[in-house]
Symmetry: C2
Subunit: 113 residues, 2 copies
Amino acid sequence: MKVKHFTEVANEDANIDGAQGANIRWVLGPADEMPNFYLRVVEVKPGGNTPHHQHPYEHEVFVLAGQGELLDPDGKPFELKPGVVAYVAPDDLHQFRNTGDEVLRFICLIPKT
Amino acid sequence: MKVKHFTEVANEDANIDGAQGANIRWVLGPADEMPNFYLRVVEVKPGGNTPHHQHPYEHEVFVLAGQGELLDPDGKPFELKPGVVAYVAPDDLHQFRNTGDEVLRFICLIPKT
């Protein structure tokens, strides 16, 4: 059993092409030897965004704080606010954008493989 | 892509032996055909608890609201409050208890298989 507060984990620069003002905490990640999936907490500063990209694995997302939008593969925006849950399917083009004045914070889960 | 607010999902009675005042929302569950893991939101009423049990799969947990404790296999309590993340390993005996005056709400993820 492991118990920690998410803020105890380093808030790293999300070092991905196309990301602006985005940070990530690997709260339950490879270092924790999770058996099946990883729990990360992502923060996007006002005006910032994650890359407009796609990859062969899914995201499951839960918005904790802030305001933003999630672009679907057709560029259609879905509103993000606390309590919104999103599923991004494998290979779906997507982007998270902060459209508010405060940090947009969300949990973002990915499979281990 | 699927986007919804967690409160749009039915808050079902957690119909498990030993649970008291516990409800669960399968926000991204079998009906959503998730490929690898399921995202549920659990609520425990003041004075309530989940079963003191174990199972052959892990939990990854993120506390959203309220105050409580998580008992580890030796009965040692870990404090739960917003932002606390917990990993319960497969076969670990565990229980979530609400020790506060408001609803204890947490995300609880499990693998699909």
